[in-house]
């Protein structure tokens, strides 16, 4: 019923915080969202149609313990994989959308995630629709080894096709976006938005601290830091995200579509 804000310690009533799009009323901390919540907060009600819901990961390397890990992630999240893709409308504008859910093995990218993202980009091409991806990920999925790493190249090539077709791709970086995913489709948006406070980087801060044996400054690798360093277009608070996305799409497609 009650949750504690991990940043300011405020005790928040669950119902209230959902009403506030899961942002702490006191300090503005953006809680991580499930894919379902993200879709609900972003799309026009009832507009979502899912793609590839049955597409699931294999165990291409026969990696020990991986099937059990997948089964557990499926059970706890109710999702088949770490990304949900489909089509829907934002303020009336039709888009192809993908949402990653960090509860699913840290939304790491294996073959199934790479394939779903690629197919979403391909559908956007076929239907000449904008693509909006809400990114969150710990990186490439270790248990799928090089098959996972190569999804970086595969998804980057898919973005290139969208680009060549003159279509709009907006990536929205959410907490956390790191590793191989940050170094592929996440950073390739025509327009890159981010949620306040989201951790975004190639190497995670803990690994950097261990390597350089120094404490990192406050705010390092946060969305605001990336905007300051010229890496993203705009930090957008969750309360304005739907409106900003709608406006960007509107400015690209004209009136209605």
């Amino acid at each position: 019923m009650w949750i504690k804000c991990p940043r300011c310690g405020e005790i928040l009533y669950n119902k209230d915080i959902v009403k506030n799009l899961k942002v702490c009323r006191k300090c503005g901390y953006h809680f991580r969202l499930t894919a379902e919540e993200r879709l609900a907060f972003t799309l026009d009600e009832g507009s979502f149609v899912e793609y590839d819901s049955r597409l699931v990961a294999d165990n291409p390397l026969n990696f020990p313990g991986y099937p059990e890990k997948l089964a557990e992630a499926r059970q706890t999240t109710g999702l088949s994989e770490a990304v949900v893709t489909g089509e829907g409308t934002i303020l009336g504008y039709r888009v192809v959308i993908g949402v990653m859910d960090s509860r699913f093995i840290m939304a790491s990218m294996g073959a199934a995630v790479g394939e779903k993202i690629t197919r979403a980009a391909e559908r956007a091409c076929e239907r000449r629709l904008p693509l909006v991806l809400f990114v969150a990920s710990g990186g490439a999925r270790m248990q799928e080894g090089m098959v996972a790493l190569m999804q970086m190249a595969k998804t980057a090539a898919a973005v290139k096709h969208l680009d060549a077709a003159g279509l709009l791709y907006i990536s929205v970086l959410t907490d956390p976006t790191t590793g191989g995913v940050s170094a592929s489709f996440a950073m390739l948006g025509d327009i890159i938005l981010a949620e306040p406070g989201a951790l975004i980087g190639f190497t995670g801060p803990r690994v950097i601290e261990q390597t350089i044996k120094q404490k990192l400054p406050d705010g390092f690798q946060r969305a605001e830091f990336l905007q300051q360093h010229g890496m993203i277009d705009l930090v957008v608070p969750r309360a304005r995200m739907r409106e900003i996305l709608g406006r960007i799409v509107m400015l690209h497609v004209g009136e209605g579509n």
Binding site: G114, M146, A148, A153, K154, V159, S182, L188, I200, T203
Partner: protein, 323 residues
């Protein structure tokens, strides 16, 4: 002093004994040829049997062998008229990436590779082959230059990974790698990628999107180092050997998985035991692939390169356990 790995020791010791015996026989003018020949045969057999049964971890050690030929040495052995070019025209020059133009088998090409050093001093000055964003951006700049002049691109992969640090993050390590993946996927000239040592994750892939990915027999290519994998998954870096098995990072494993196109043999004992021979074996295969690719039209080149990556990890729809 050359570095001797544990599993190299038995035949290296035998080889040392042979060398001693040879000089002894010469000094004393004794005929020990029968004895020496016998030992040489044994050393060869020993080497053969050890190398026929290498574990993935032993290959990791070979791929990281301090005496293993590096990019600079292969460039010297394989290219004529090579000229090095520097800088990303944006921030700086990254010595962890080598780039330039030269002639390969008569064709003007652009050559790019991660640059490890031969000794500690060299390695420190080149950051052990771990590139900053400016290194990746220099690589992409040179690739676009190659495209303009219709030059094929040849890249050498040999890095523990992209550099991890504050400056690299501030200057957009993720963005630089991502741009390379996108840029290489669309480049309208042939790209041949040769994995010669350590293919460490995203920092390796940033030079690794090609029409052909060739991999030396004892090179590795992995999503994460075995040590990193073991410490993340099992909270125990000492289980790196086990991780090396699980990650399927050897050339033959990756050929079977359809990640690389060809495994290039190395001289018995590994490339470091005979760098010239290793280079000759590389040259032979690179020539053949380059000649084939030079005849492919740019559109078809890009189309089939993308198709090749498109099919990696093609998964099937599975009804049942998922929703």
């Amino acid at each position: 002093m050359p570095t001797i790995l544990d599993f190299e020791r038995p035949f290296v010791e035998l080889e040392n004994k042979i060398a001693e015996l040879t000089s002894f026989s010469r000094e004393k003018d004794l005929d020990l040829s029968g004895e020496i020949e016998h030992l040489e045969k044994r050393a060869e057999e020993l080497k053969r049997s050890i190398f026929a049964n290498l574990t993935p971890w032993q290959r990791v050690q070979l791929a990281r062998h301090p005496d293993r030929p590096n990019t600079e040495e292969y460039v010297r052995m394989l290219f004529e008229d090579f000229i090095e070019f520097h800088g990303d025209r944006c921030y700086g020059e990254d010595p962890a990436v080598l780039g330039g133009i030269g002639r390969f088998n008569g064709t003007a090409v652009t050559v790019i590779g991660h640059r490890k050093g031969r000794d500690t001093r060299e390695n420190v000055s080149r950051n052990f082959g771990m590139a900053h964003p400016e290194g990746f951006r220099k690589a992409l700049r040179l690739m676009h230059q190659a495209e303009k002049f219709g030059r094929p691109v040849i890249t050498f992969i040999d890095t523990p990974g992209a550099h991890c640090g504050v400056g690299a993050e501030e200057r957009g390590q993720s963005c630089a790698i991502a741009q390379n993946l996108l840029g290489m996927s669309a480049l309208r000239v042939p790209i041949i990628v040769v994995v010669i040592g350590e293919g460490g994750s995203g920092g390796a892939l940033a030079l690794g999107v090609g029409d052909r990915i060739l991999m030396q027999e004892h090179a590795i290519f992995s999503v994460i180092s075995p040590e990193g994998c073991a410490s993340i998954l099992w909270k125990d870096p000492s289980r790196a050997q086990e991780a090396a098995e699980a990650l399927k990072l050897t050339a033959h494993d990756l050929l079977a998985l359809g990640i690389v196109d060809e495994v290039i043999p190395e001289p018995l004992g590994g490339a470091h035991r005979d760098p010239k021979r290793a280079a000759a074996l590389l040259r032979e295969r690179m020539v053949q692939h380059l000649e084939t690719l030079k005849r492919v039209a740019p559109e078809e080149l890009v189309r089939s390169r993308c198709a090749k990556f498109r099919q990696i990890g093609l998964v099937s729809e599975e009804a049942g356990e998922s929703g």
